[in-house]
């Protein structure tokens, strides 16, 4: 039998044989971790003579005849046999049964042996997660799963942008997250302690996702957390690590003397005077990036206790993770998560089983302005390098020339005061009732309660006289002005805002599983039928007050504010939506050879229009395990399965703000009569009664193969997704005014791609094992229809002042492609301008824009596709080596073909410039890419164009880890020390901090407005098992 090849035995020592009957004693342990196995069966083969191992895995069996076979077995392990010819002590190591344990995947409302699954699933186990030590569990999916695109976010604790099998929709592509059967959102993963996770399954095709119906269309991430085992001794696991984070790249900006020289040239070019006559005394000035970026700490400590008796098993854990920000340091930017979780599985009787999961998490965080023109990094990149960070009196340096928007980033950091405190309880109560051996009824109540408190303090600030951000005198006292005419005084105020938001959602599910087989156990059926009810709600209340004593964060609270009643304002909002669904599935196999699965879900959702509340989603799949055929007789191939599926799933992508369900009145409008403010109203929202779900029809074909005694494995899938009725909130005609247009079903897209994973795994000897895998993913999406009023596109991300929209979701294009002018070198001479299409305002040294439509005029009609923020393909490569007590892991990730739009350049008269300016055009033949410098950009060289597009392809060494397990420590079953470097190095041509650019929203991908860089982390840690 092939599986026995994995079986392993270590016989430690022998004693001499006695006469006819022997007495055998010893211990049974797990080979993987040396843990004793209680409750294992030891039996003399083909007899009734048997015993069970005790809590320490110890056993003694008497009366074993000479020459008899002794059998050691335990669920989930490969059975081991030994022929006895003397009395002895045996130390038995049982090998985990890969076929029985690893290959069970949790699918919706049940689990299935992987060998019987005819859909497409990508599995990440706890080892991959433990190796990576991610802050958020999604990180582990990046290089270890196929078919999923994860763009990391460098900001402490912030969510990455995730899409499974492409960005098929304009409104969002967030997958559904199911934690231990409880439906959650992707944002909820921030409270999940990664070290509690047992496995993550990414369900990709309709055969697996259709059971989740209207929520399953963007794929499903199924998280299973760790739990205790029955009859298991108390096990304690402690893991602790500490690390330092650093930013490894800087953006090349001009130093002070370069800046001064460029400003002189720009001034002269626009008819002005030399601004800085003497460049020699200026020097290098201030590098603002050095001022705001620092090294910061990261630490993680987790402890868990698990165990079980005959009837009850349990798992409890506690964890703390603290990540400080590399921008601004731990005063202003951090993410601290404390988590506690407990799971209890109890057999109440033979029939009833109770499962209780409870997870509590607390997050405390502070954050900075990020990824916008006013962010700390944007200020650091654009602020005047001639200003000193501090004046001689210790106050912050001030620019005399920059009087709006851009400020000294240190002043900004100093004036940033906020805090967030999130408490979250999530879990489930599940009662299973075994009606018959093969009929089980499950009643599950899953809940998620989140309480988010935030406070934001806006102190009185001074950015210089006349700066439009200044609200205070230089001594930070309020600016008091007296009306010359009336003598009335007005004063500036500091201000505090406190906000409390509660989210509560529950899902109640009732379903029955009935498994049976017919005709000599050849025809196997697994069925499930059930219903689900869920309710999601949220409510917020916000209070604002002004005049905080001493302009101090210490007193920044509504309760301490001294402003009058009129200045205390408040607001609130709430939402509510409900779902009701029925679902069912039939899995059938004939002798484990021919697999059929049929499933469906009938879903109702209150978020849809009155006319379209219910939808039916369905899928069917077929599989053929060729290697189980009698005629299949290969020495090389151990397992081969060919599978295909087709089905329809839905998506209720309504974005973060659920769509308007009603036409409601907005009472915010105000006007002034007689000098007094009076309240008015107008229509605030309009619903779309026809709003319906997106329907994704997906075809999947693939195979799984294992070869060379399971050393090599491969899974490959090809898929096609046709999405119709794409939901998005259209950009309506501006003549509709300000009202928010409701979402509509007005588009379609087609996606295809390939997911391939390839693994190699070999134990060369007791001391040396090696495993590696490569995950390869391609996605091609074309938007096939957009009917946005008169337009065939929706507008996406924008940047800068004036605000310029750069990405579009447009018919006939890839999703969220970059839209702008195409540059065609630099005009070297007036003659070149004259012979080119009419380009208003162009002078020699300005950018020549391509006349795309050939009408002889350069205007908006010439804008075109200038880049694609999404990669052509991604791959992850991971490897691990174990040699004696040393283990080594490497994880890498590459994204090829994605473009980045550089959107952090402010391009104002006195703001700093970037190093490329040094290669500017200064006369014919000097440059054909970088335009002249001038204060009066008559040619609008800074318009959105491919000048700002860069190739964002990269190859990243994400993780290196070296561990050493100290053997034979008394009282400790395992003690391992390790050192780790994360985000070791990035190979890329991109000139910014990091080519992975995400603000959490897929439509924002690749737009770099000064994104928080992803830090390199050096850390050390230890792992102890008792």
């Amino acid at each position: 039998m092939r599986l026995t090849l994995y079986t392993f035995l270590a016989l430690l020592f022998f004693t001499t044989a006695s006469a006819q009957n022997h007495t055998i004693s010893g211990t049974i342990i797990e080979k993987d971790n040396g843990m004793p196995i209680p409750g294992a069966n030891i039996i003399v083969k083909n007899t009734n003579n048997g015993v069970v191992s005790d809590f320490d895995g110890l056993f003694t069996i008497n009366e074993v005849p000479n020459g008899a076979t002794l059998q050691f077995s335990y669920v989930g392990f490969v059975t081991y046999e030994v022929v006895i010819n003397k009395s002895t002590t045996l130390n038995i190591q049982l090998e985990t049964d890969v076929a029985s344990l690893d290959e069970v995947v949790v699918i919706g409302y049940g689990s299935q042996k992987l060998s019987k699954v005819s859909g497409s699933v990508s599995k990440v186990d706890s080892e991959s997660i433990e190796t990576l030590k991610p802050v958020r569990v999604e990180e582990a999916l990046q290089s270890s799963a196929t078919g999923i695109n994860v763009v990391s976010n460098g900001s402490p604790g912030k969510s990455p942008a995730i899409s499974i099998r492409g960005v098929v929709s304009a409104q969002g592509s967030s997958p559904l997250v199911v934690v231990d059967g409880v439906i959650q959102g992707i944002d909820d993963l921030n409270t999940l302690n990664p070290s509690d996770v047992e496995s993550i399954n990414v369900l990709k095709d309709a055969a697996l996702t259709a059971i989740y119906g209207v929520k399953g269309g963007n794929g499903v991430i199924v998280v299973t957390t760790k739990s205790g085992k029955k009859n298991q001794k108390v096990t304690v696991n402690f893991d602790s690590s500490y690390g330092v984070q650093e930013v490894i790249r800087q953006v090349d900006v001009l130093n002070a003397s370069e800046y001064a020289a460029i400003l002189n040239e720009a001034s002269v070019a626009s008819g002005g005077d030399i601004i800085f006559p003497d460049l020699s005394t200026i020097g290098k000035g201030t590098n603002w990036q050095d001022e705001v970026i620092e090294t910061a700490a990261i630490q993680s400590h987790n402890i868990s206790v698990s165990g079980g008796s005959e009837k009850i098993s349990y798992f409890f854990s506690g964890g703390f993770l603290g990540q400080d920000g590399v921008v601004g340091g731990n005063d202003k930017s951090y993410f601290d998560r404390t988590s506690l979780s407990g799971r209890i599985n109890a057999d109440l009787s033979d029939k009833f089983k109770l499962i209780v999961n409870t997870n509590y998490a607390n997050i405390k965080d502070k954050s900075l302005s990020e990824n916008n023109i006013g962010s700390v990094l944007s200020n650091a990149l654009n602020f005047d390098p001639m200003v000193n960070p501090y004046n001689s009196d210790g106050s912050f340096g001030i620019s005399e020339t920059i009087t709006q928007e851009i400020i000294n980033p240190l002043t900004q950091l100093d004036n940033t005061y906020n805090e967030g405190n999130t408490n979250k309880i999530t879990g489930k109560l599940e009662l299973q009732y075994k009606i018959l051996d093969n009929v089980k009824l499950t009643s599950r109540f899953g809940y998620n309660y989140v309480d988010v408190y935030t406070k934001n303090f806006t102190p009185l600030v001074y950015y210089g006289v006349g700066h439009n951000g200044t609200t205070a005198n230089p001594d930070l006292s309020p600016i008091i002005t007296t009306d010359a005419e009336t003598g009335e005084e007005t004063s500036t105020h500091n201000r505090v805002s406190e906000s409390n938001t509660n989210y509560f959602s529950y899902t109640y599910e009732l379903f029955g599983n009935y498994d049976f087989n017919l005709i000599n156990e050849n025809h196997n059926f697994e069925t499930v039928l059930g219903l689900s009810l869920s309710r999601n709600s949220g409510e917020n209340i916000t209070a604002n007050a002004q005049d905080i004593p001493f302009n101090s964060w210490s007193y920044a609270d509504v309760s301490a504010a001294t402003g009058d009643n009129a200045s205390q304002t408040s607001g609130s909002w709430q939402y509510l939506n409900k779902n009701m669904s029925y679902f069912g599935r039939l899995n059938y196999d004939f002798n484990n050879k021919y697999l059929v699965s049929i499933l469906g879900r009938y879903d109702g959702s209150s978020t849809f229009g009155d006319n379209n509340r219910y939808g039916l989603f369905y899928a069917a799949s077929l599989g053929w395990v060729a290697s189980n055929e009698d005629f299949f007789n290969s020495e090389i191939i151990d397992f081969l399965k060919i599978r295909g599926s087709y089905g329809a799933t839905g998506s209720d992508n309504l974005g973060d703000n659920a769509d308007a369900q009603f036409s409601s009145i907005n009472t915010f409008p105000q006007y002034t009569f007689d000098g007094n403010i009076v309240s008015g109203s107008t229509l605030g929202s309009i619903p779309n009664p026809d709003l319906s779900w997106e329907t994704q029809k997906q075809l999947n074909a693939g195979f799984d193969i294992r070869m060379f005694t399971n050393k090599i494995s491969m899974s490959a899938d090809y898929y096609q997704k046709d999405v119709v009725d794409l939901i998005f909130r259209p950009s309506p005609s501006l003549y509709l005014g300000d009202i928010a247009a409701p979402s509509g079903n007005v588009g379609a897209s087609k996606t295809n791609g390939v997911d391939i994973s390839l693994g190699y795994n070999n134990e060369f000897s007791d001391d040396f094992s090696f495993s590696t895998n490569i995950n390869f993913t391609t996605v091609n999406t074309e938007v096939t229809k957009v009917d946005n009023g008169g337009a065939d596109f929706v507008l996406g991300a924008g940047y800068g002042i004036p605000y310029t929209i750069i990405s579009r979701f447009e018919e006939g294009e890839t999703p969220w492609y970059f839209y702008g002018y195409q540059t065609d070198g630099i005009f070297q001479t007036q003659e070149e301008i004259d012979t080119h299409a009419t380009q208003t305002g162009a002078q020699p040294g300005d950018i020549r824009f391509a006349d795309i439509n050939g009408d002889g005029v350069i205007n908006d009609e010439d804008r075109t596709n200038i880049g694609n923020p999404f990669p052509d393909f991604t791959f992850g490569w991971n490897a691990s080596i174990n040699y004696k007590n040393i283990d080594f892991n490497i994880g890498t990730y590459a994204s090829i073909g994605n473009d980045i739009y550089r959107a952090y350049e402010r391009n104002s008269t006195y703001t700093n410039r970037f190093a490329s300016t040094l290669d500017r055009w200064t006369g014919p033949g000097t440059s054909d890419s970088e335009p002249r410098v001038t204060f009066e950009d008559t040619n609008n060289n800074t318009r959105a164009s491919d000048r700002y597009i860069e190739d964002g392809s990269f190859f990243k060494i994400k993780n290196l880890q070296l561990g050493y397990t100290i053997p034979n420590v008394p009282g400790i079953s395992k003690l391992r020390l390790y050192a780790q470097v994360k985000n070791v190095y990035t190979f890329t041509k991109y000139s910014g901090y990091d080519p992975e650019i995400s603000s959490g929203s897929v439509s924002d991908t690749g737009v770099d407005r000064g994104t928080y860089p992803i830090p390199r982390i050096w850390s050390v840690g230890l792992n102890v098992n008792f």
């Binding site: 609200t471 007005t490 219903l531 779902n579 009603f662 009076v678 509709l736 300000d738 310029t804 104002s908």
Partner: protein
């Protein structure tokens, strides 16, 4: 099997029960929303919706700024050549369809139109005393917004029956300019028929305001007899203030010369950047006009919209309007940080010390004197002169304005015919400078090309339709853009 039956039965029952129940129903009251079906059931709802229709008037600061920046009266100014690039381009006559400022202006005017139309849509739901007069205000406001649109963009989409919804997006073509004016005239005539001549609250529209605006709309179409007749209703209903400058002070707000005034106050608690200009109740235009220097009695501003030397020189030294219109910075002009600085500032709408609110820049209380009686007199004069109705009346109205400016009778104009028309136009420049009228006066009188540097005939008479609107709605562009 009994146990199976016992457990499956309730299971089935739950299925059935839920199948018939209204589990999915969510009521507007669950989230405390006022659904529009329960609105307009009391007079107060109508009153509130009318206030909502006035609200966009406060966002029209750009309309005023552009009226002078685009003309020969002022330069854009600002911190640097890139400061509010959209306005810089308009000043230089290099503006293109991608202009944030014009896009906002377009959208805000249409928000006003839609709010008025929402009242039209609900007009028949309830009857109450004073409803007709209240709708007179609504029709005036709709005409006001359409008049801004037609002034700026020429042909624009026109719709009046209801607030548009998503199904209308991209489905409404531009109406010819003449049709836009027809709608404006209709609305104003309807308003005049029902509006009272005085209102209990200052800031509300009166019959006179509607007549003045209708007269203006006629004048813009060169319908001189209609203009003269209509404006004649307003003549005598107001008085010029003695001291020209006084009407631009806080104490001069809603004074005897004020025909229609957009109201602002500095007392809003929604005063910060997040709410500009739509949420605050302050006049966001004012800060733009302030000097980037400390001048006693005034507050610092952003040094936009700076009057030109030519404008200063256009005034007779005895003209009291010169100092009232233009604030001269007596300090060293070269020390003024900023772009295109002339040393002059818009004195009519300038940040005065202490008149903003808690956010010192954004909340100026200065009302915008949208229609002054002096404007009415000069329009009436022009209608009479150009319509060959009565040069005598034209002179009378013109000289009423000049006598106030000079404080004597020595500067009366006695010319007639074309010379008189030129004198009236010149008087409009001097009297109404820096109030946002100049560019549109130059365009409608055909003087723009000879007066404004860079002005291209058959192009710059109107501004480009915002590119965003064209992209979305597929409507046509104005000629030359």
């Amino acid at each position: 099997m009994k146990i199976l039956k016992n457990s499956v039965l309730p299971f089935m029952l739950i299925f059935l029960a839920l199948g018939c129940s209204d589990y999915l129903d969510v009521e507007p009251t669950d989230t405390h929303e006022i659904e529009d079906s329960v609105y307009f059931q009391q007079e107060a709802d109508y009153q509130a919706a009318v206030i909502g229709t006035y609200d966009p008037l406060q966002w029209m600061y750009l309309n005023t700024l552009i009226g002078d920046i685009a003309s020969d009266n002022s330069l854009c100014g600002g911190e640097s050549a890139t400061d509010v690039i959209g306005l810089q381009q308009i000043d230089d006559m290099t503006h293109n369809p991608n202009n944030d400022n014009l896009t906002n202006l377009w959208k805000w005017c249409y928000e006003g139109v839609n709010r008025a139309n929402y009242l039209e849509e609900n007009k028949t739901k309830l009857d109450f005393d004073g409803k007709e007069a209240l709708y007179g205000e609504v029709y005036f406001l709709r005409a006001y917004y359409y008049f801004e649109l037609v002034k700026f963009f020429g042909d624009v989409p026109v719709f009046v029956d209801r607030r548009l919804d998503a199904s209308d997006s991209g489905n409404i073509p531009r109406s010819p300019k003449a049709d836009v004016y027809t709608q404006i005239e209709t609305d104003l005539r309807d308003a005049i028929a029902v509006l009272p001549t005085t209102q209990s609250q200052s800031g509300r529209v009166t019959k006179y305001a509607a007549q003045a605006l209708l007269g203006k709309a006629y004048l813009y179409q060169e319908k001189f007899p209609e203009a003269a007749t209509t404006l004649n209703n307003v003549i005598g209903a107001f008085t010029l203030v003695d001291d020209f400058e006084s009407q631009f002070l806080k104490s001069g707000e809603n004074g005897i010369e004020s025909v229609f005034e957009v109201q602002y106050t500095n007392t809003s608690e929604w005063y910060d950047w997040d709410y500009v200009p739509q949420g605050t109740e302050g006049n966001f235009g004012i800060i733009h006009n302030g000097p980037r220097a400390d001048i006693a009695g005034y507050a610092r501003g952003w040094a936009f919209n700076v009057p030109t030397q030519d404008l200063y020189d256009a005034y007779d030294s005895e003209d009291t309007r010169r100092e009232a219109t233009i604030l001269t910075y007596s300090g060293d002009a070269s020390s003024l940080a900023g772009y295109e600085q002339t040393g002059y500032f818009n004195h009519k709408y300038i940040p005065r010390a202490g008149e903003s609110g808690a956010q010192t820049e954004l909340n100026y209380l200065n009302n915008y004197r949208a229609i002054r009686y002096a404007d009415v007199l000069l329009m009436a004069a022009e209608a009479n002169a150009r319509g060959n109705i009565s040069d005598g009346l034209a002179q009378q109205y013109l000289n009423e304005v000049r006598r106030r400016a000079f404080g004597d009778l020595d500067h009366d104009i006695t010319s007639s015919g074309n010379t008189l028309v030129q004198a009236i136009w010149n008087e409009r420049k001097l009297e109404l400078a820096m109030e946002g009228h100049r560019f549109f006066d130059l365009v409608r009188t055909g003087e723009a090309a000879s007066t404004i540097n860079g002005f291209t005939t058959n192009k710059h008479e109107v501004f480009p339709i915002p590119q965003l609107e064209r992209d979305i709605s597929g409507i046509t562009q104005n000629e030359g853009y």
